[in-house]
Each structure stands twice: as C-alpha cells, then as structure tokens.
C-alpha cells in the first residue's frame, strides 16, 4: 500500500551501488623491511596483501584496484602498469612471475582478474627491486611516500572522472558549465565543481580510498613534510579516506593523515597476523563503514616538521603571515617561505620569564618605565 509514497522514486537511483577503487601504497623501503625479516618477510607480506586485494575485487564485479610502491628513491606503479603486455598469453610466458622460490601456480585455477593483478604486481615489484642498486640504498634510507600519494591521487582523480563520464549520471562538468552560463546561480558554477566529490551524490560516484602499508619510521619522511601534508589535505577535501596499516615504527604524519581523512589507523602489534588485520579492519568500503565500529586512534600525534631543517618539533615558531613552521627563529627575522620580516627580537626573553615572575610588581613598574609601545598597560592578574 505504501508503494506510492512520495519518497520511493528517490530511492530507485540509490539502489545501484557504485563500485569502489582501492589504492594500495606499499612502502618497499628495503631498510625497514630488513628489520622486519624475522617476524614478517617481505614476500609473505606481499602475498597477504595480494589476497586482500583479491578479496576486495571479489566484493563487487566492478571494483577496481591500483597498487603503488613507495620505494627508497622513487615511487612506482605496480598495478595497473603502462608497459604491461596486454596479450594474455605473453604474461604467462615471460616466466618471471615466480618470486622467492614459489612455483608459478598452474594458470587455469584462478579467477582471471585475480591472476592479472597478481602477475603484474609481482613482476613489477621484481623489476623494481632488481633495478635498485647498492648505491641507491646507501644514499637513501627513507621512502618516497609523498610521490606515491600523489600518484595515487592523480589516478583516483582520473578514474573518478572517467567513471562519471561512462555512467552519464554524473557528468557534472557540463552541469557546472550550464549553471555558470545561465548566470542566475551566482556562485553556482564554483560550488558545483567540487561537488563531483561532495556528499550530495555520495553513493553515485566511484568510492575511492587509499591504504598505506607503512614500515618506515617517521623521522625518515620528515623531509617530505610539506608534500605529504598537501596530499593529505587534498584527500580530506575529496573525501578520500587514507587507511594506514603500520607494521613497524610509528609515523607521525600518517596518524594525522588518517585522522584528517577519517580513515582507519592501526599499528599492528603482531605483524604476522597482517592478513587478518587487513580483512577485518581495512576491507569494508565506505558504505559498509557506516555500519561498523572502526578502529581509529584517539591520541593522534599532531606534531609537525619545521620548514627549515625538516625536524619534527613539539613547539616551534610560526610565521604569522604564511603559517610556516620553524624550529628556531629564522635568520635575520625574515620568514624563509614568504620573506616577510618578523619581529622576533623579544624571543630571547622566554627563558627569562621565570625569574621575572617572582618579582611581578616590580616588573609592571619597570615595564612602563621602559617605554613599551603598548599604550594601555596590561591589567594585572
């Protein structure tokens, strides 16, 4: 009897559930993996991640996946790779699929999409590792997380637009253009452009998320503070959750990443259980997450890295004009980012605060005598 109530036709569109795009960023920093060798060898971790990717693909016919390696000297695509042989037969013949002594599985007993992903990832990973020279390792101890995040974001952007165009339902560029042309909307054209990602059509767009499997410590990535934070804010704006699966160490910025983008943050106490952690905490997509209680971090480390020496600081100096962070007053009092001259002369008074506090009364008198530019004396406590 209720079939003709006014709300039902709005729900019709929503029942067509859009697929999700999962981008996995694997931190392949050899130094960090060497430390993990005893509890979770790299090959095993990759195998676990591949099963997880298969599980993601299994959830929906149209689900997509992308894998990026954040290596010590560069970030590289593992899947989809541009130079992959598209011919199905070739992929099997080149024989370098096997890794760490695993015999290549007979080719027929695996679901096709699973196998394609697996082959490309292992092959590209092997190429990446083979191309890493000893010099690269000695010169660089960290991981190119910022580059990997940027690659992931640009891929997500491309796929989102392509998906929206394919499915006609959300060809919003045109919509925005029309709104701007009619002129009546005023700011409508501006407002509609980011709407491609906004909550009003949350269910209709491609659901993207990023998973970072991280092993490197925080101090390594401090020198990329600015590009990493920029990527994080881009994700926040586009409503792309960044999930962080931390196998070792503790990365400051990644805690902020998952906190800012409402992603899942987990530091694994037992790296050997990686697959179970992945399956339970990281597999649900955005739609299912609404119904689940997610593991998040309560005590997020909000520390930043200074712009001058890339050190992680607890207390620093912030330029009042451009909000750049410094661990010590910039030389000459000029902000190194925007060049504004900052009046930091009184900064040395800080250690002297304590002795002054003792003789509070004297200080008030003395201050007025010294001719401070403040005309109205600060009210005493």
């Amino acid at each position: 009897m209720n079939s003709v109530d006014a709300s039902e036709h709005y729900e019709l569109g929503a029942t067509d559930l859009s697929p999700s795009l999962l981008t996995v960023i694997i931190d392949t920093n050899p130094h960090a993996w060497a430390l993990l060798e005893n509890s979770l060898p790299f090959s095993k971790a990759v195998a676990n991640i591949l099963v997880f990717i298969n599980a993601h693909l299994a959830c929906n016919y149209a689900n997509e996946v992308a894998v990026v390696a954040s290596h010590s000297q560069k970030a590289a695509w593992l899947y989809p790779s541009q130079n992959a042989p598209t011919n199905l037969a070739n992929a099997d013949q080149d024989g370098d699929v096997q890794m760490n002594g695993n015999t290549p599985t007979p080719q027929t007993n695996k679901y096709r999409p699973f196998r394609i992903v697996e082959e490309q990832v292992t092959r590209n990973l092997k190429d990446l590792i083979d191309s890493t020279t000893g010099d690269d390792l000695r010169s660089n101890m960290s991981t190119m997380l910022a580059g990997a995040l940027t690659l992931a974001l640009s891929n997500i952007n491309r796929r989102t637009i392509a998906w929206a165009e394919e499915h006609g339902g959300a060809a919003l560029e045109d919509a925005a253009a029309e709104g701007g042309a009619s002129g009546g909307g005023g700011g409508g054209g501006v407002a509609a452009a980011p709407n491609r990602y906004s909550a009003s059509n949350e269910d209709e767009r491609l659901q993207s998320r990023i998973l970072i499997v991280s092993v490197s410590g925080s101090s390594d990535s401090a020198h990329q503070y600015i590009p990493i934070m920029n990527s994080i804010f881009a994700c926040q704006r586009l409503h792309i959750p960044i999930d962080v699966c931390k196998l070792s160490g503790d990365a400051v910025f990644l805690q902020q990443a998952s906190d800012a983008t409402k992603g899942v943050y987990m530091a694994l106490s037992e790296p050997r259980g990686l697959l179970q952690y992945l399956m339970m905490a990281f597999l649900p997509d955005q739609r299912s997450r609404r119904h689940l209680v997610l593991p998040t971090r309560v005590d997020v480390d909000f520390r930043a890295a200074c712009f001058c020496h890339r050190k992680v600081v607890d207390v620093g100096f912030v330029c009042s004009i451009c909000l750049s962070i410094f661990c010590e007053p910039p030389p000459g009092g000029d902000c190194m980012t925007c060049g504004t001259h900052l009046d930091v002369g009184d900064y040395h008074a800080r250690p002297a605060l304590l002795p002054r506090k003792k003789k509070k009364k004297k200080r008030v008198n003395g201050a007025s005598g010294a001719g401070t530019p403040i005309s109205t004396p600060t009210p005493g406590p």
Partner: protein, 482 residues
C-alpha cells in the same frame, strides 16, 4: 536492484542443505554466490571471519556493528544463515559464536589464493581459435540470439518484417512454455502475464530468470541440478573474448552448453568444436546491473550498428508524458507500445505519449507499474540522465536526483493503484499471544530481520513472510524464560 538479486536468491534459499554442500565445493560457485547474493555488510562479515581460526563470539560481532545499524546487521546475518554460509556453534566455554561453514570457507579461500588442482575457473583453449572471434562478434551474436528469444515471445515477426528471424531451437520454446512465459496454441504463440513482466526487465534479470527456469527443468529431465548450477556459476567467472576447452566438462554440462548457446549466453562455432566462448551475457552474470548496463544493453537493445559511445539508453521522457525513443529495433518498439500510445514513427525515432488509457491497458495485461518504470529507467537516454544530474546538484539537497520525471513515475503508480487495490503476500500469521509483552518481542524481532509484513497491536497478531527464524526466536525466548 532488489528485483535483480531476489529471484536467484529465492531459488537458492529453497535448496536443501546437501545441495549447498555440493555446490560450495566449487571455488567459482562460492565466489559467485559471495559476490552476487550478499549485501555489503554480509560480505564484510564473511571476509572478516574467513581467515579466523576460532569462531567469533556473537557478542564480539555485535560490538563491531554500530548500534544504529542493528537492522542491517540482522538482515545480513539472516541471509548468510539462509544460504548456509554462516553457522553458529559454541566455543569451549559455551559462548555462542559464528563461523563460516566449511565447504564454503575452503572454496572461497581457494578462490582468493588459487588452488592447486581444481578446474573451477575454466581451462583456456590456447589454440589458434583464440583470435578468431572478436568481442564485437560475440556481442553481436549474443544480441541477435537474445533479441530472437524476446522477439519470439512478443511476436515481432508480425511487426517488422525485415528482420532476419533467428531460428530458435525446440528446447528454447519448450523452456519458455514450461516457465509459463508463453503459451503455445497450435502455431500461435501468446505471451502470458509473466512473460510481459519478463520482457520489461533488464537483461541481467532476464538471464537469471531463464537460467533458473533452466535449472528447474533440468531437474525434471533428470540432470543433476548441482552440476548445472555450478556450471552456470563457472560461466559467470570466465573471461570475455577468450575461448575455453570443452574436454574437461561432464556430458551433462556439455548438454547445458548447447542449450545455452541457443540463448546467446555462450557461443560455439559448431556443436562439435573443441572450445566455446562465453558472451557478455554470461560474464556479467555476477555483476551488478550498473556494471553491465552500458556494454550489454548498449549492444543488446540499442539500434544495431550504433553501439559504442558513452550512452546506452535511447528513451527520453518529458514531464508532459511525451516519450521519444531513438530506436529502430522492432522489439523495442513493440515493447514500448505495450504501455504507450505511439504516434509517429521515423527511421530512427518513434514518439508517443503515456496516457492513463495506455497504462491501464498495460496493467490489464499483467504488467506492473514498477516494471514499466524500471524499463524506462534502465533505458533512459544519457541526455535525460545528464539533465537530472545537473538538476540534482543545483538544488544541492540530500535528495537523490531521479532520472525520470517524478510526476510521470508517480502518475504511473497512481494509475496502477486505481485498479490494483489488493496485494497478496504469502506468509505466516502469528496470533493468540497471551500478553502484550509476549507479542511485542517477536514482533520487533521480525521487523528487525525484515520479514514483518503487517502487525496489529490490538489483536496481538502479526504476519511474516518467513517463519523459521521467528519460531526459533520464540523457542529461545521460552527457553530463556524458564
């Protein structure tokens, strides 16, 4: 689409536990059922439990889900239970716990990780046949066969004579008749009410409908339904454009293959060829309707030769009930004419108007308003979708933008209501509760698992579509009380 999933789901639920046991031994079946039949939350549960060594206590699972989503959780658990995927056991210290049942868990794990010896995902034929048939050829074959079946049902041969009618095999005609989609009187073919509903559904639903009819009829002629079903699920996991070996198939499966070729679900060059090709109809069986709407309906229902491009639909509807359909396919035109007064016909366009009279005529034939609307929706022109997307963002409310004009969809439903005032639901009535409390608890439970249809607090009665779980709930309550 609820309607798309419900039919195979209902059929599968009716199977016995041992059938499930046999079915789940195939990794491809486990994967297909996992992907196609389960709601999102159920998939999360299965995946979370899949690699756990010990069963997960029910309390832990309940904590995992938000308190506001209790209904979704119970619904997911109920479906998992009905499909024999999740079972409850007791752990050592007598706590109720969930675990994934065994053949299913093993098979799904095999599907995800790759198994050693099963040929569950088909065997590639690596011969020269690989490049002989292109994807476009397969699409064309599937389209021709499927439209042939539809055309046979609707009787388009009288409509547009120019079409090269596909020769349908006797088996296809018998199957359609056995499924009460058509009635054959002498040489005349009359479409039934069910048939009208059938032809208006989207292609994916139609294929499932046919396949389930096929499985049912296979049982009747003595083929093992498990064998046929698992073959169907195998087909759904094959790769489009590749050819597969036949020699690993059982005789029954070979017979199925020949029958399915008549529908355009698979293609083989000739019945004795050593390999076969799945068409898009088969490979998209386990996808959502959205995933297949573009490539398949684009090539299946769109005007021939005009495939490709971004849009699949060809129907534009205006708020004044005028309908423009850019098609020259006699099948589509005759379908549209079922519920529309057609006015003009041009080489690539027909126009008409949806009126009270035309909709009532359709309803009298047994077509429902929902079928008409879902037909219009799945064939809406890209222009129509784009317009509504633009409209939806400009008002920027939480309201979903609808593709069809709401006035039209509402009016079609209202026209249906004018004559359709009763609706029958098969189910079970619970009554004679002694106290209000005794009544309200199971009633609430039934509402939560989504089987409640009607309730009356005054009479202390409620009506459900499915009684097993409610009865189990009542029993557990009694047990708890004593």
């Amino acid at each position: 689409m609820a309607s798309a999933t419900s039919r195979p789901l209902e059929y599968l639920e009716g199977l016995s536990g041992t059938t499930f046991y046999k079915l789940y031994k195939q990794p491809s079946t486990a994967l297909a059922i996992f992907r196609r039949m389960l709601p999102d939350l159920a998939k999360c549960f299965v995946m979370a439990l899949l690699y756990l060594k010990d069963p997960l206590p029910t309390a832990d699972l309940e904590i995992w889900v938000n308190t506001e989503s209790k209904k979704q959780r119970d619904n997911a658990l109920s479906i998992l239970g009905r499909l024999h995927i999740l079972s409850t056991t007791r752990t050592g210290d007598n706590v109720r716990a969930y675990m994934v049942t065994d053949p299913f868990a093993t098979s799904l794990r095999q599907a995800l990780m790759g198994a050693e010896d099963s040929q569950s995902f088909g065997v590639f034929s690596r011969g020269p046949g690989e490049t002989q048939t292109s994807i476009a050829d397969l699409d064309e074959y599937a389209r021709r066969q499927w439209e042939g079946v539809m055309g046979y049902m609707v009787g388009t041969s009288a409509f547009g004579g120019q079409r090269d009618m596909v020769n349908l095999s006797k088996g296809v005609k018998q199957l359609l008749q056995a499924g009460h989609l058509v009635e054959i009187r002498g040489s005349r073919v009359d479409i039934t009410k069910d048939g009208f509903g059938f032809v208006l559904q989207d292609v994916n639903t139609q294929v499932w409908h046919i396949l389930i009819l096929y499985v049912q009829s296979a049982e009747a002629i003595g083929m093992d339904s498990v064998e046929v079903l698992s073959f169907l699920f195998l087909l759904s996991s094959l790769e489009l454009g590749a050819s597969y070996e036949k020699k690993h198939l059982t005789p029954n499966q070979l017979r199925t293959l020949t029958d399915l070729a008549d529908f355009g679900i698979v293609y083989q060059e000739d019945p004795d060829a050593p390999c076969f090709y799945p068409t898009r109809l088969a490979t998209t069986l386990t996808s959502d309707s959205s995933a297949l709407s573009n490539p398949v309906t684009g090539s299946l229902t769109g005007p021939a030769g005009q495939t490709g491009g971004s849009g699949s639909g060809f129907i534009i509807i205006e708020t004044n009930y005028r309908l423009y359909a850019y098609t020259s396919s006699p099948l589509q035109i005759s379908l549209i004419s079922l519920f529309t007064n057609l006015k003009y016909r041009f080489p690539n366009l027909v126009t008409g108007k949806i009126t009270r009279q035309s909709v009532r005529r359709a309803i009298e034939m047994g077509i429902t308003a929902d079928q008409v609307i879902s037909y219009l929706l799945s064939h809406a022109h890209p222009q129509l979708r784009k317009h509504n997307a633009a409209h939806g963002t400009s008002n920027a409310k939480g309201v979903q933008a609808s593709v069809l004009p709401p006035t039209v969809t509402d009016q079609i439903r209202l026209w249906q209501l004018e004559r359709d005032r009763l609706r029958a639901t098969a189910g079970f009535l619970f009554k004679d509760f002694t106290s209000l409390a005794e009544y309200s608890a199971p009633c609430q439970y039934a509402a939560e698992i989504g089987v409640l249809v009607w309730k009356s607090e005054k009479k202390r009665m409620f009506f459900v579509t499915r009684h097993e779980q409610v009865a189990a709930f009542l029993r557990s309550q009694k047990g708890g009380g004593k």
